[in-house]
């Protein structure tokens, strides 16, 4: 039996005096899509970066496909779509995708997957342009094509829908679902609650580095007697009266 794509146990991380993560437990099974949702600064990106081995954690353990996060085996099992793709500005999108394939040591299957993904995103000729000349949204799409074509057991997507146009959001959602159907685990961080509700099998709500609620989107709505995930979000944060509160405050604007 293949190991679980991602197991996070009691993870803690501090930046100086501020707590980024505290006792976070999480599991991403093969074929499932887990969404990390939370206010800005709640620790979503820190958790993704720790999982990717880009930063070390202070306590707990993160295991990626049976290997500790940051190890060579764990790195080889991860495909990351970062919030802000950077570096290699002078490579074309196609060259960047080829580089990723070479570094991960994947073969023709990955190339075929990248062609399918690029067509679906409508990148076409854009892949012949240098990354530095692409808009942020297009660059994220190229980054998604590179990552999702690898066929890695675990896919990490930071700020999944940020800067993407509505078409690209649809394509990304379908691509993640297709990869999950092939047995990949997906962990995504997003502020787009509609996207999270549509795509994720489980939503984990982070606040100040702590998991405050989790469950399937429908279960969360039912538990909080809420019509939308936005209401779930506000209720879980104990701020259901946010709208009326800021409306009052903004009268002074």
């Amino acid at each position: 039996m293949d190991p679980v794509p991602l197991a996070v146990e009691g993870v803690g991380k501090r930046y100086g005096a501020s707590v980024a993560l505290a006792g976070v437990d999480l599991c991403v099974n093969a074929g499932s899509i887990v969404g990390l949702v939370g206010p800005n600064g709640s620790g979503k990106t820190t958790l993704l970066r720790s999982t990717a081995g880009l930063i070390t954690i202070d306590e707990g353990a993160i295991t990626v496909a049976g290997a500790p996060a940051g190890s060579g085996a764990a790195r080889a099992s991860i495909a990351l779509v970062p919030d802000e793709p950077s570096g290699f500005d002078e490579l074309t999108g196609a060259e960047f995708i080829s580089l990723t394939h070479a570094l991960w040591g994947v073969g023709d299957e990955a190339r075929e997957r990248s062609l399918i993904l690029a067509t679906a995103f409508g990148l076409g000729d854009r892949l012949e342009q240098r990354l530095g000349t692409l808009s942020r949204g297009l660059r994220r799409q190229a980054s998604a094509v590179a990552a999702l074509s690898l066929g890695a057991p675990l896919i990490l997507v930071d700020e999944a829908t940020a800067t993407l146009d509505p078409e690209a959001v649809v394509v990304l959602g379908e691509a993640l679902a297709a990869r999950a159907a092939r047995g990949c685990g997906v962990l995504l961080a997003t502020q787009d609650l509609h996207f999270a509700g549509e795509v994720c099998d489980e939503i984990v709500l982070l606040h100040r580095g702590v998991v405050i609620d989790r469950g399937a989107p429908s279960a969360l709505r039912a538990r909080h007697s809420a019509d939308s995930l936005e209401d779930v979000f506000l209720a879980a944060l104990g701020d259901s009266r946010l709208r009326s509160r800021v409306r009052d405050a903004f009268r002074a604007l």
Binding site: A76, L91, A102
Partner: protein, 466 residues
């Protein structure tokens, strides 16, 4: 995998330089021509300097000083180079999260800029050293040892900088190890009769003709290889930054933050700029101490301290255009006039280069004395150095991201410095022979360089805005 990464990084760097040359074809062509001509000019200069010193060349103290001066300057440059070597994250999060090793990442970052620097600097260095040593008792072969000694000082400075960086990140094993290494260096040198030269002591003997040249070549070559390898290993296993969340003195929500204060804050808050300045101060102070301890006459310690410090302190001037370019949309859309923003950037770079030099040079002058003429010389060198760094930083932006970008900026700085030195060396004597007094020539040369720096800043920022 390593090859693929190296190839991709080299391709990025080559395309970046090509775009740079395409954007400013005339300056690029001028730099290339001057860099190509520099070795020829340096042969003449080396012969002239060597002839001046030849009479005292067999003295052990003189030969030690002849090696120590360029070695310290190269060490300061090496330290600045080390702090500007980007971490693995410069590959971009997506690739950095991948299975390529840290050693591969460092090798890929270093490869192209190293080759570029070798192409631009090495011919000039070797030409000068061969011609210079040819007039000394050791002969031309000792010049090879001298050139290798200068090359070996780059990783030596870089290793020390890695130790300082590790200490700054709360890891003490590394600085302790580096400290022990420095102690062993001094002990080895002391045993050979030239403590500051350490393992490079045979180079001094080779220059003086009191030892075989091959010993100097072997010592410098093995030091360069050993320290180079050590630096790459240390750079590949740097400890993580302690915390990105730090208490900084905030500029606050003041209604009006003066533009110079904002630009200065952006420059001095960069870790690479601050560490380069720390390294520059350290190597400059060591240079002054060694020169004083060796009984060098004034203004020797002052000049050595000032020029060594400058090689690290110019990083601020090198970085300033990249910093402005990152936020060009804000600068350009602000009600401040563009000329005033460009002038501010130049002043910030100049002050950033001058302050560390002033600190170290003042201490050296207090300890050993300095003449007005030496002070004038240092002032001209600081202005010229800041201008050259600003031009290089405008041509090859010192960005906050992009693998090996800062190293490429360094390589371009080296090329522009060689070209500017040659140009100044050709023009200044002719102006003097026309009857212009020395200070007037200095003002003209500095004025020309400052104008070129302002022009290149403006050109770069306007092209970014478009």
């Amino acid at each position: 995998m390593r090859f693929e990464l190296c190839r991709a990084v080299a391709r990025c760097q080559a395309r970046r330089l090509r775009a740079m040359a395409a954007a400013a074809p005339l300056p690029a062509a001028l730099v290339v021509i001057l860099v190509a001509l520099a070795p020829l000019a340096l042969v003449r200069i080396g012969c002239a300097v060597g002839t001046e010193i030849a009479a005292a060349g067999s003295s052990a103290d003189v030969s030690t000083a002849l090696v120590l001066g360029p070695v310290l300057a190269a060490a300061a440059a090496g330290a600045a180079l080390a702090v500007s070597l980007p971490a693995r994250e410069a590959l971009g999060q997506q690739i950095a999260a991948g299975p390529c090793g840290d050693l591969a990442a460092v090798t890929a970052s270093l490869l192209f800029p190293s080759l570029l620097a070798m192409l631009t600097l090495l011919p000039s260095l070797v030409s000068f050293c061969l011609a210079f040593a040819g007039e000394l008792p050791g002969g031309r072969v000792a010049g090879v040892a001298l050139a290798l000694a200068v090359v070996s000082a780059l990783p030596a400075g870089a290793v020390v900088a890695e130790g300082v960086q590790a200490a700054g990140r709360g890891q003490w094993a590394r600085p302790l190890g580096v400290g022990v290494g420095v102690g062993a260096w001094v002990a080895t040198g002391a045993a050979a009769g030239a403590a500051p030269l350490g393992m490079l002591a045979p180079v001094g003997r080779a220059l003086a003709g009191s030892g075989p040249a091959w010993e100097g070549i072997a010592a410098a070559g093995s030091t360069a290889a050993g320290l180079g390898f050590l630096w790459i290993v240390l750079a590949a296993s740097r400890p993580e930054r302690r915390s990105p969340v730090r208490r900084r003195r905030s500029l606050g929500l003041a209604w009006r933050i003066p533009v110079p204060a904002a630009v200065s804050s952006l420059v001095v808050r960069r870790d690479d700029v601050r560490l380069a300045n720390v390294a520059a101060l350290g190597f400059g102070a060591v240079g002054a101490l060694v020169a004083v301890a060796a009984g060098a006459e004034a203004p020797g310690p002052f000049l050595l301290a000032a020029t060594t410090t400058l090689l690290g302190s110019v990083v601020g001037a090198l970085a300033v255009c990249g910093i402005l370019s990152t936020g060009y949309w804000m600068w350009w859309s602000s009600p401040h006039g563009r000329p005033s923003i460009i002038a501010t950037a130049w002043y910030v770079g100049l002050v950033g280069a001058a302050v560390p030099v002033a600190i170290v040079a003042a201490v050296a002058a207090a300890g050993s004395g300095a003449s007005w003429r030496a002070l004038e010389f240092v002032a001209v060198v600081v202005v010229a150095g800041a201008a050259v760094a600003t031009i290089a930083g405008s041509l090859a932006l010192w960005r906050g991201e992009g693998v090996g970008d800062q190293l490429s900026s360094f390589a371009v700085f080296a090329a522009v410095a060689v070209a500017a030195s040659l140009l100044m060396g050709l023009v200044a004597p002719r102006l003097t022979s026309l009857g212009l007094p020395g200070p007037a020539v200095a003002v003209l040369v500095c004025g020309a360089l400052i104008s070129a720096a302002l022009l290149s800043l403006r050109r770069r920022l306007e092209s970014d805005a478009q």
